[in-house]
């Protein structure tokens, strides 16, 4: 875990003081809402349908137990007792009072947290692989590079009024768990032929109304030029990104309109110039940061044996744990997508990504006791305990069961990504949460049989629910004043990134639930061998699905 030194703490404290002053001026009326808006947005404060919403940054999705506990306490103290984990590995609170926000930021600063640049047209919180540092399939822990970029991008004076928001993701594994190529800049830490570590830059990906998979712009940027190259990418965008139409203002449009070769040429020109200016932190700074991400003190020689005689525990182990790089340890995924079975046999699904203050504190305690005081937030709106001894898994599971956090459905059809939708969001055209709940309730008993199926729901074209990247994607639109849902198939956010295609005319709320069910039936009827839904779709194509759904 990265720990602040007095410089980092002073910067965050300065931000709290600045925002306290801005909020005071807003409440007094000397600062207009128009002028306050971009200021509050750069502190993650939105004005939503019913109240202010505060989005708190979780840099590269990594948290300590104390930080997690604070998130739970904030939910209870300032909100309605729950928080919502987001697809950007952050957490947001939906019922915040403007006058409380400086105090919330001060509480966050006391545990080395903040809401800096979690919104607005600036470089946003940097995301990363949630298994970083724990998985065997990565080249190196990507988080030190993300932390270096976090500091560079915080209050960067040239890039605070970009054409549009800017999202950076850093991974170091070919198994892309962070949707890297769907970011404005996706960075994969790689090794070149000489055996040196560097960064591959993919620029111009994104979802929204015009989705693009980021093309490779530079295959190898040496580690001592990471910041300089990033700055070149950003400067070209700040100068030439479109500002005439906010729907065409993301860097993906610039890269697409210029063509990747021309964008690359302009960046190289700027890069050559910036290299003469000595703006790059020394490698010693990267080494300093790396020391914070050294492996925890794993016990050696632990057994990998597990007693799986309890079937519910066995199912949870199978679905929700992943291989750890160290023998005797496991990566634990805590699903925030519960589906309860009620006394009458009916199902009741939770709100994807929501956790109560109490549940958040339970997870914080588990991290402290069983996971070297570390947690991760995933872009799929779940939580990870990255380093749990296999010998402790049963105890951890029992405690999760008691807190209603033990749903064994990771990457199953009920593990749905959903944006807040029309229940909260001013941009939304349709509700996402009730659709997610209905699908989860309808499909819960089939989830195990269907296997891996990533279902993602957005309540509008802005695609916060990643519908383009769902094996099944759902897009809520407004059709003549009625909520209408389009069905997409074939998207994927992993190493084999692809964008979903719309199947046909949209549905009402019940219709879309039925259409999803039919799509799964087509899969089960056509599945060969170990194929996942996505594999079958890729093999047989859209038509069999279309015929079953509309025929």
């Amino acid at each position: 875990m990265y720990l602040y030194d007095h410089y980092d703490q002073a910067m965050v404290d300065a931000r709290v003081a600045e925002f306290r002053d801005q909020t005071r001026r807003r409440i007094e009326g000397t600062l207009s809402e128009e002028k306050f808006r971009p200021l509050r947005l750069q502190n993650g404060l939105y004005l939503q349908l019913h109240a202010y919403m505060l989005r708190v940054a979780v840099p590269y999705g990594t948290l300590s137990g104390a930080q997690m506990k604070m998130l739970g306490d904030i939910a209870d103290k300032y909100d309605r007792g729950y928080g919502h984990f987001t697809t950007r590995q952050n957490i947001q609170y939906n019922w915040i009072k403007l006058e409380d926000t400086p105090d919330i930021l001060a509480d966050l600063a006391s545990v080395e947290m903040h809401a800096i640049q979690t919104s607005g047209n600036c470089i946003r919180n940097i995301s990363a692989d949630q298994y970083a540092g724990a998985t065997a399939d990565e080249l190196i822990d990507p988080r030190p590079y993300a932390e270096l970029l976090r500091q560079w991008s915080s209050f960067h004076p040239e890039f605070l009024a970009l054409p549009r928001k800017f999202k950076i993701c850093v991974i170091a594994s070919d198994t892309d768990r962070a949707a890297m190529r769907l970011h404005d800049i996706g960075i994969q830490i790689v090794k070149n032929e000489a055996g040196e570590i560097g960064a591959a830059f993919y620029v111009g990906g994104g979802m929204g109304r015009t989705p693009f998979i980021a093309p490779l712009v530079k295959a190898f940027v040496p580690l001592d030029e990471l910041i300089t190259y990033s700055e070149a990418c950003l400067r070209v965008y700040n100068r030439y990104g479109r500002r005439d139409n906010k729907y065409k203002a993301r860097i993906k449009i610039l890269v697409h309109e210029l063509g990747v070769d021309e964008y690359r040429r302009q960046v190289e020109e700027e890069f050559a110039h910036l290299q003469t200016l000595a703006i790059e932190p020394p490698l010693a700074e990267l080494e300093r940061i790396k020391t914070f991400f050294a492996d925890p003190a794993y016990e050696a020689g632990l057994s990998d044996d597990l007693d799986l005689s309890n079937p519910a525990f066995a199912a949870w182990v199978k679905n929700n744990t992943a291989a750890h790089k160290t023998p005797g340890y496991a990566i634990v995924n805590i699903s925030l997508k519960p589906v309860k079975t009620l006394a009458d046999g009916s199902k009741q699904a939770g709100i994807p990504g929501d956790a109560t203050g109490e549940q958040i504190r339970v997870m914080a305690d588990l991290a402290k006791t069983y996971s070297f005081d570390e947690l991760r937030v995933t872009h799929t709106q779940n939580i990870v305990l990255p380093h749990v001894r296999k010998a402790d898994l049963f105890t951890v599971w029992e405690k999760l069961v008691a807190a209603e956090l033990a749903e064994a459905n990771l990457d199953k059809i009920t593990d749905i990504i959903a944006c807040p939708g029309l229940d909260y969001c001013t941009l939304a055209n349709a509700r996402s949460i009730p659709v997610a709940q209905k699908i989860a309730e309808r499909m819960a008993d089939k989830a195990e049989e269907i296997g891996e199926l990533k279902l993602k729901i957005s309540g509008c074209i802005n695609a916060c629910g990643h519908h383009h990247a769902g094996h099944i994607g759902i897009l809520g639109v407004d059709r003549k004043g009625l909520e209408n849902y389009q069905l997409l198939l074939g998207g994927c956010e992993g190493a084999d990134t692809s964008l979903g295609k719309i199947v046909g005319p949209g549905f009402d709320e019940d219709g879309i639930v039925g259409a999803v069910e039919k799509a799964t039936q087509v899969y089960l009827a056509n599945k060969e061998g170990e194929e996942r839904f996505l594999d079958t779709y890729r093999r047989i194509g859209m038509n069999p699905f279309k015929e079953a759904i509309y025929g």
Binding site: A10, D21, F155, P157, F159, A161, R243, I279
Partner: protein
């Protein structure tokens, strides 16, 4: 044209020479002061830096940050004359403008002086080397550079 409210040029007064538009500047060989609008390329001025005493970079809307890049580009190229930001400038932009190399600020609406003073002192240190603001970034302080 708004007046310069803040000038960070020791012992100097704001340049009063008449400005010309960038499009007219190349032809008008007597001009020593020029205005750059957000869509214009500051690098077009690089061959002429010697004869410039004022570059005014406009911010028609405070949400359009192209002027920040224009300023740094000019300073990075060695421009030492007055670099003026004008237009829709709020108090909360001051420290960022200053860090990008602006040394004269001409807001459309004059800013509250006490608030401006607070805003300029907001950041005890900085994370980036912009080079042009003369400040050592935090990484340099950490490593004694």
């Amino acid at each position: 044209m708004a007046d310069v409210q803040f000038l960070f040029r020791e012992g100097e007064e704001a340049v009063s020479a008449p400005t010309v538009a960038l499009s007219a500047f190349a032809e008008d060989t007597n001009a020593t002061a020029v205005v750059i609008e957000p869509g214009e390329d500051a690098r077009a001025l690089l061959p002429h830096l010697d004869r410039l005493s004022l570059v005014e970079v406009t911010f028609p809307a405070f949400t359009d940050g192209r002027g920040f890049s224009s300023a740094r580009i000019l300073r990075e190229a060695g421009y030492t004359g007055e670099l003026r930001a004008s237009g829709d400038i709020g108090v909360d932009m001051l420290s960022h403008l200053h860090r990008c190399g602006f040394d004269a600020i001409a807001p459309n609406t004059p800013l509250d002086l006490a608030q401006a003073d607070t805003a300029l002192k907001t950041w005890p240190q900085v994370y980036q080397a912009t080079v042009v603001d003369g400040r050592k970034p935090i990484w340099a302080l950490r490593h004694g550079l």
